[in-house]
Symmetry: C2
Subunit: 177 residues, 2 copies
């Protein structure tokens, strides 16, 4: 399964850290790439790319001013569009259908004001709890369910093959460089 | 099971939004309360309390300057201390042991620089993937595993009984007020 993320409406400086967390969760939980719209932010791109350089994997980040075009292009390439919103249908009620819909998914993680059109363009509007919390948590949980928890298996780390790697420890910090 | 969160090292303005996300995830995923240390932030307390007032539940937030005392007091009350850190043992390798250790858990979500003493005071240092990502995602995933996914069930919303409530929809936004 190929998973791309679309982060909508990035604003500076307000979303700097949240969008970074969205990107790092996307990478750690098995997505291949993130596109973001809103304000261009070379700092976001640099910090994510630097982390990928050190910790490994093929994750990429790119800016696309026109989010509507990004969605349409992914549709044309056969991606199913999954919009994460607290107003949507509970994720577990749509999980099987989403998995069966395509081998390629575009997950949309909005910020505060998501244009109404996104709800119409999406093939699925799904929620992670129907309570307000965090697009970072919603993305992590959605990827976890799509991956069937495989992102948590220790062995999966080897797939990153980075310059640095954590050696899990009962106490303190152990790294392999 | 009673779950409390300890958020370490809150800094203004840097952590405003991340700590808010930590608190909202804690509430939405079944924790009872959050204590935070670092800088006092009445804005954080107000925004979380206001959300609880509207969306329901009994979640509380409180400041404790002395995080060491907070940990020790929870230990004395029988809480098992679970520190979420990317350097720890993969969560799934310790989940059963954590669940069996106590009916009361204190989950510690650090920020950038966690004092070494935290690793020693914790009963468990556990990781959600051994990759850098987000304390918001690590907390959501840990609560999800502790709750066995029950936080995602639609029916569980009724436990919040707030003034406002989402009516899950295929498209757009539907609320009950």
């Amino acid at each position: 399964m190929e998973i791309a993320i679309l982060r909508l409406g990035h604003r500076l400086p307000r979303d700097e850290r949240i969008s970074t967390h969205v990107a790092l969760v996307a990478r750690a939980f098995g997505a291949e790439s993130m596109i973001y719209s809103g304000q261009h932010d070379s700092g976001l791109e640099t910090s994510v790319s630097r982390l990928v350089g050190n910790w490994g994997g093929d994750f990429t980040i790119a800016y696309e001013k026109n989010w509507k075009r990004a969605i349409k292009e992914h549709k044309e390439k056969g991606f199913a569009i999954v919009h994460l919103t607290m107003y949507g249908i509970p994720i577990m009620e749509r999980l099987a259908e989403i998995k069966n819909s395509s081998q390629k998914l575009l997950l949309i993680a909005g910020s505060e004001a998501v244009p109404g059109e996104v709800y119409q363009l999406a093939d699925f509007n799904v929620s992670v709890t129907s309570q307000p919390h965090s697009e970072v948590a919603a993305l992590a949980m959605t990827l976890d369910r799509l991956m069937g928890g495989r992102e948590l298996e220790r062995a999966s780390d080897s797939s990153f093959a980075g310059k640095v790697k954590i050696e899990p420890a009962e106490r303190g910090k152990r790294m392999k460089c």
